[in-house]
Symmetry: C3
Amino acid sequence: MDLIALEEIRRLKHRYLRCVDLKLWDDFGGVFTDDAVAEYDTPVIGKQLRLAGRTAIVDYMRTNLGPGTITTHTAGSSEIDIDGDRATGIWALEDTVILPEHKLLIHGAAFYRDVYRRGGDGLWRVEHTGHRRTYEYTMSLADVPSLKFTAGLPPAPGIDAT
Amino acid sequence: MDLIALEEIRRLKHRYLRCVDLKLWDDFGGVFTDDAVAEYDTPVIGKQLRLAGRTAIVDYMRTNLGPGTITTHTAGSSEIDIDGDRATGIWALEDTVILPEHKLLIHGAAFYRDVYRRGGDGLWRVEHTGHRRTYEYTMSLADVPSLKFTAGLPPAPGIDAT
Amino acid sequence: MDLIALEEIRRLKHRYLRCVDLKLWDDFGGVFTDDAVAEYDTPVIGKQLRLAGRTAIVDYMRTNLGPGTITTHTAGSSEIDIDGDRATGIWALEDTVILPEHKLLIHGAAFYRDVYRRGGDGLWRVEHTGHRRTYEYTMSLADVPSLKFTAGLPPAPGIDAT
């Protein structure tokens, strides 16, 4: 078992998740190979979202998860298999997306299936990521009339990334 | 510190959790020793649930967490002690069980205390698992009239397990 | 990469989180250096909370997160850098605080930035912890009239800590 690679891959995914929730889009791009593909199960928009190439992935996130959107992506329970410079990973995800302006909350769970590649520079990157939902629901914040945001509107500026 | 065993035990628990939420009951059985015991704190049914033997554990889950039930079991914060071929583990759990047909949601948190054993085949299995709740609540989905499931009804078929 | 130190630091943080949610205040104190500083982003009370010294940190928690308060602190996605006997760590947090008597629930997410120090006794402790919220909201349980606690009132006594 290559314990160093295992830690590097876990950390790569943790950085991926942090960059999404802090909207650190330039850093987010660094997580992926140039030719990375992302396939997210997004029933709320009625389809499987397929984004091909680092630029497409980053552009989509930058456009769709902008300052008016609060997100948390919590992934754990990793099951990672490493074979030389390639690896696969399963992760359990729970995510919440809140669009305060639309009084909309989307919550769900999914399992990621990722592929990682180690480049000539020795760094692991995401070559393929995708998830499939176990469930997802939407609800209106109007059903919780007492709800008040005490932080996050507008989202806090990004914490400096390491 | 036996880092390899530590990773193997963590992965075992991650597989356990995934098999529950994806309803992969045959794979779920493989997580346990034949004589495994599970003791779950389930105040919602008014008692401590005690299941003795792999078959009893799997049968209970198969019967009670079937296709009409959505579950997420998120466990992290592991504290694992290894002593040769035996190990103990504490994990923090947050779980949600949704019974859409009954418009019921059960949510809570607990701490697991597990015992693991390494068999003659070199594989770690769960010999004893159990948890104790810090809290649990039930609520009716009728209190959230806008709530709509966009995935999970019926639950997605299981992702192929590794 | 010092894998042993990495595991020790992760476990330290897991113990920190467990001690908070189980209200094990004496054990909680053991997580910190004498001169530890904690700076929590707590917009719900309108300020950044700064606690200097182990005693001040423990006293604050003991006073403010007593038996009438239910809490869960779930942190994962660690990104840890070790440099000899000092280390830094980023963690993603999701936390919920419920005050049943006041029918109040506070939920939010944050990123911790911690500093750890290894003492002459070889043990890692938290020298500085702090977090900054990505969002936080409060809501009244009165908006969920069906909500019933089936556990946690009063909080379960602490599980014996390791």
